[in-house]
């Protein structure tokens, strides 16, 4: 779409939206948010970029291919599951520790996995469709 206003606004918005999506991901355990919502939000920011600048540019700023994101996400989620196993608890049992005074646990890693898979799925479908329509 060839609109100067949209492009200018998008440049500002994309960063903000991405930050907000991370914020949603982080706070999800205690307040509304989480990996799924955060992932959708991040995907919408890239989708907006895709509409403003075209799918090729959107792929450039994502850098990684959407399917790789899906794979990385699954890997993170499975790894989170195995953390429990290696801590001599059942598979998927939460393992919690402290990182600089902040409580972090394997559910966060799992949620990051969900976040990545959701971004990968949405972007993969959206950008490919956009490219096919332009072709």
């Amino acid at each position: 779409m060839n609109s100067v206003i949209l492009r200018a606004a998008t440049r500002l918005l994309v960063t903000l939206m991405l930050l907000f999506s991370l914020f949603l991901l982080w706070r999800g355990h205690n307040l509304p948010g989480g990996g799924f919502i955060g992932g959708l939000f991040a995907a919408s920011s890239f989708a907006l970029y895709g509409i403003a600048f075209g799918p090729d540019k959107a792929r450039e700023i994502v850098r990684v291919s959407p399917t790789t994101l899906c794979g990385a996400g699954l890997l993170a989620a499975v790894a989170a599951g195995f953390l429990g196993l290696f801590a001599s608890k059942p598979f998927m049992a939460g393992v919690w520790g402290s990182l600089g005074g902040v409580k972090v646990g394997s559910p966060l890693l799992f949620d990051i996995g969900v976040y990545l898979v959701v971004i990968g799925f949405t972007l993969g479908v959206l950008l490919t469709m956009e490219e096919e329509e332009r072709a």
């Binding site: 949603l24 999800g28 355990h29 205690n30 307040l31 509304p32 948010g33 989480g34 990996g35 799924f36 919502i37 959708l40 939000f41 995907a43 919408s44 989708a47 509409i51 959407p66 399917t67 899906c70 794979g71 996400g73 699954l74 890997l75 989620a77 499975v78 989170a80 599951g81 196993l85 290696f86 001599s88 608890k89 059942p90 598979f91 998927m92 939460g94 919690w96 409580k103 646990g105 559910p107 799992f110 949620d111 996995g113 969900v114 898979v117 959701v118 990968g120 799925f121 949405t122 993969g124 479908v125 959206l126 490919t128 469709m129 956009e130 096919e132 329509e133």
Partner: protein, 815 residues
């Protein structure tokens, strides 16, 4: 925990192998051999414990609340298998580094090979039948990837699918058998089954379970009439043939039979079925090996022969037969792995595997020749190699077989004669005489490729020599513990090289001499064997093809009717099913008590406004003249519903709904933006039908909701999550805690589906061939699935499918 790591390490290595190959390609073979070698050492450290007769039992709790554990079990049988898998694995990993040195997909290859190694370890170490099944299927998948490795060749792809379909069908039958078994005796734990005595044999479902389990074992171990997939699998690169399709994977079926022998075996049905199938398979394998000229196919035939021998020995079930099976298992893996690697080295250096073209390689490839000779002599069963020990034991067992003694003895001698012939064909023909007319000028294979076969051949010799004394290392560590696992009790016997001149030895001499005579007359015998091809080999394969194309025809028929490619048809089916299934149930329940509950408290103005917006939006979407207008109005409906969620205190749900609506509008707009406006194409009858469906769906859903709200809600789960969320999962957002912690496994399943769907959708979008867009189709062309992806190489089945799709579409256009 180390046991878990031992199994998982292969999978971990598999995921990083493709990246590693980029850095270490020239020495990839040596480096990848380290992990299997380390695992070999790890398993070898258990030899003492297992030799003492105490199986190692490791339990990792998985879902303790449901009593599901990840348990491993290491006794004589599984330890010997584990050592074969890791030991031959190390040789093959190194070998593949040389064999596929410049292959662009080497990373992919090592991925599948490591995954296979780990899965195969899982099969032989699983303590639970269901865990065993999962690893079993993983070996089938990795075998599929490896057979189809040269994926640009039609032959490779067909062979890969054939192997997957046959072993996969058997695997599913086996799973059904395990489920019935579990239902029958209430446990799937191997230790509990072994301790259960006659519990399964006396059960009324015994025969059903037996048939299903045998279907799994026979398909995997290429027993007649499923044997034809194994020669097909020779399309795989030779390291794979050496590893999967001779030394390890095809023995998974034998492993299962061996494992189940103390539980399922010992009945007349078991004995007769196994000996019959085993004996027939031996003969079939012998004929296959005689009629081929390709080194690998000759060896594949002899592998079928060996698998038949093992099944037959387990079927006979006497202590002598089980001991012979235990020894022959090791003997065969060692010499066959080596011979396959030799065949691959010849192919790699001379450019062909056709026996008539080869000759005189002993001067150019001396080390490979030595390995070939030692392995072939072990195969032929000549002292002092381990093969001799194995064959003597087999003959002794056959001489005292309780049933059909003479017939089985005859079959065994005949197939062993052919084993000698095969050995001579592989070790003498390519190496002796004058240099053949080979496509490449041969020279010695690189070190990566001769170390493995030399090592395995050397082991055949060393272990053979080790059996000189009556009490020896080989018998104590391998033969007797494996036989004990097979028999389910201690086996007290001696395994040693020289038994003196007895009937078995005379038979051995006769075998070797006749084998050499057949080898001399090979040129004349081969056409005779080839004449049998239509009955024993091509015939079975044709049966499979006919079955497969019949299956595809049925699929194409139902595909044409159900999967029409029109969204409106799908919606009709989905909504129609909902109405047809839900309406009678609601009627049965009775509708008398349903009523719209009066609103207690105040109805706020904005709530009413949202409802009005939803109704108007839906109506507007229906009446819209342009696609874009309709989409945006639908988005409006979605947003209004999300706002209702906000009003009723479900922020997570609302936020998700907002985002999904936004993305849906973008997605649908991308697809539909180019389309012309709506035009009325449907007949009045069609529209009336759609009205009926729409109104009935509306009514059914409304009644359904009323029925749900009038049922008192059970707060049990809500309370559980609300009270446990903070103390046990440290999270105050209950929704998210449920998603990532309490029910994390569900979410894991969902994101796996999501990722798989993404790959599928992207592939479909990308692969869309130039589509036929017949004129006058208008917006219908968009939903057409008609274009074949594989237009150029479409098999008849694919074309048939295509026609079936065109049929109903044509009708639709006419109506």
């Amino acid at each position: 925990m180390t046991m878990l790591l031992a199994v998982l390490s292969g999978f971990i290595m598999a995921t990083i192998a493709p990246q590693l190959v980029r850095w270490i390609r020239p020495v990839a073979g040596w480096l990848f051999a380290i992990l299997p070698a380390a695992l070999f050492a790890y398993f070898a450290s258990h030899l003492d414990v297992v030799r003492a007769g105490a199986p190692v039992h490791v339990v990792v709790p998985w879902v303790p609340s449901l009593g599901v554990d990840l348990a491993f079990y290491l006794d004589g049988l599984s330890l010997t298998f584990a050592l074969l898998i890791t030991g031959i694995g190390a040789c093959v990993m190194a070998y593949a580094g040389g064999y596929l040195k410049d292959d662009p997909y080497l990373g992919r290859f090592y991925f599948a090979l490591h995954a296979f190694m780990a899965a195969m370890l899982g099969v032989v170490l699983s303590e639970n039948l269901f865990t065993l099944f999962i690893f079993w299927e993983l070996t089938s998948f990795s075998s599929y990837l490896l057979i189809g490795y040269k994926h640009e060749k039609q032959g490779s792809r067909d062979a890969a699918i054939q192997a997957l379909v046959i072993t996969g069908m058997g695997g599913l039958a086996m799973l059904a058998g395990f489920i019935v078994l579990h239902a029958a005796v209430g446990t799937a734990s191997i230790t509990e089954l072994l301790a259960g005595g006659d519990i399964l044999r006396d059960h009324p479902w015994y025969h059903g379970i037996l048939v299903l389990v045998l279907a799994g074992a026979f398909t995997k171990s290429a027993q007649f009439p499923f044997h034809f997939w194994l020669p097909g699998a020779m399309q795989a690169p030779t390291p794979v043939s050496a590893y999967l399709h001779s030394a390890t994977m095809v023995k998974a079926g034998v492993y299962l039979l061996a494992r189940m022998n103390p539980v399922l075996g010992g009945t007349p049905v078991w004995e007769i079925t196994l000996t019959t199938f085993g004996a027939v398979t031996m003969l079939v394998g012998a004929i296959v090996s005689l009629m081929k000229t390709d080194l690998k196919l000759v060896l594949a035939g002899s592998t079928i022969m060996a698998l038949g021998t093992l099944v037959m020995l387990i079927g006979i079930g006497t202590e002598a037969a089980l001991l012979a099976a235990a020894v022959f298992l090791v003997v065969h893996s060692l010499y066959k792995g080596a011979l396959f690697m030799v065949a691959g080295a010849i192919d790699h250096e001379a450019g062909t595997r056709e026996i008539p073209l080869l000759g005189g390689l002993r001067k150019t490839m001396p080390l490979t020749w030595i390995a070939a000779c030692v392995a072939a002599i072990s195969m032929a069963g000549v002292p002092p190699l381990l093969g001799f020990v194995g064959k003597e034991l087999i003959y002794e067992a056959m001489l005292e077989a309780p049933r059909m003694t003479l017939l089985l003895l005859f079959v065994t001698v005949v197939s062993n004669v052919f084993m000698v012939t095969v050995g001579a064909l592989v070790a003498i023909n390519p190496f002796a005489g004058a240099p053949g007319a080979t496509p490449k000028k041969p020279h010695e294979a690189p070190a990566m490729m001769f170390v493995g076969p030399l090592l395995l051949a050397g082991l055949s010799l060393a272990l053979g020599l080790a059996t000189l004394p009556k009490d020896n290392f080989f018998a104590a560590s391998f033969a007797l513990p494996v036989a004990a696992s097979l028999a389910g009790r201690e086996v007290d016997a001696y395994v040693y090289l020289w038994h003196g001149i007895n009937l078995a030895f005379v038979l051995s001499v006769v075998t070797v001499v006749s084998g050499l005579i057949v080898w001399k007359a090979w040129e004349r015998v081969r056409p005779l064997a080839a004449a049998l091809d239509p009955y024993i080999f091509a015939g079975c394969e044709r049966g499979y093809q006919a079955w497969l194309s019949g299956l595809l025809r049925v699929a194409a028929w139902q595909f044409g009717h159900l999967q029409s490619g029109y969204l409106r048809r799908y919606l009709l089916f989905v909504f129609g099913t909902l109405v047809v299934l839900a309406a009678p149930l609601l009627m049965l329940r009775g509708l008398g008590d349903l009523a719209f509950e009066p609103i207690d408290g105040v109805l706020y103005f904005y709530e009413l406004l949202l409802c009005v917006v939803i109704v108007l939006g839906a109506w507007g979407a229906m009446r819209a003249q342009r696609h874009l207008t309709a989409i945006i109005l639908l988005g409006l409906v979605g947003y209004a519903i999300a706002l209702l969620f906000v009003a009723f205190g479900a922020p997570d749900l609302a936020m998700t709904q907002f985002l999904v609506e936004t993305l849906t509008v973008i997605l649908v707009a991308l697809v539909l933006i180019r389309l012309p406006g709506f035009r009325q194409r449907s007949s009045t009858v069609t529209r009336a039908r759609d009205w009926v469906v729409a109104v009935s769906v509306g009514v059914v859903v409304t009644v359904l909701l009323l029925a749900i709200t009038s049922t008192p809600l059970s707060m049990h789960l809500s309370e559980f999550f609300a009270t446990r969320s903070v103390p046990e999962a440290y999270g105050r957002n209950v929704v998210n805690v449920i998603l990532v912690d309490f029910r994390g496994v569900d979410t894991m399943g969902e994101i796996t589906v999501l990722a798989a769907a993404a790959v599928g959708i992207i592939a479909l979008l990308r692969l869309r061939a130039p589509r036929r867009r017949p004129e006058g189709r208008g917006d219908e062309g968009l939903a057409s699935p008609g274009g074949t992806v594989d237009g150029t190489q479409g098999s008849p089945a694919v074309e048939g499918e295509d026609e079936a799709i065109v049929g109903p579409q044509a009708q639709e256009v006419r109506s």
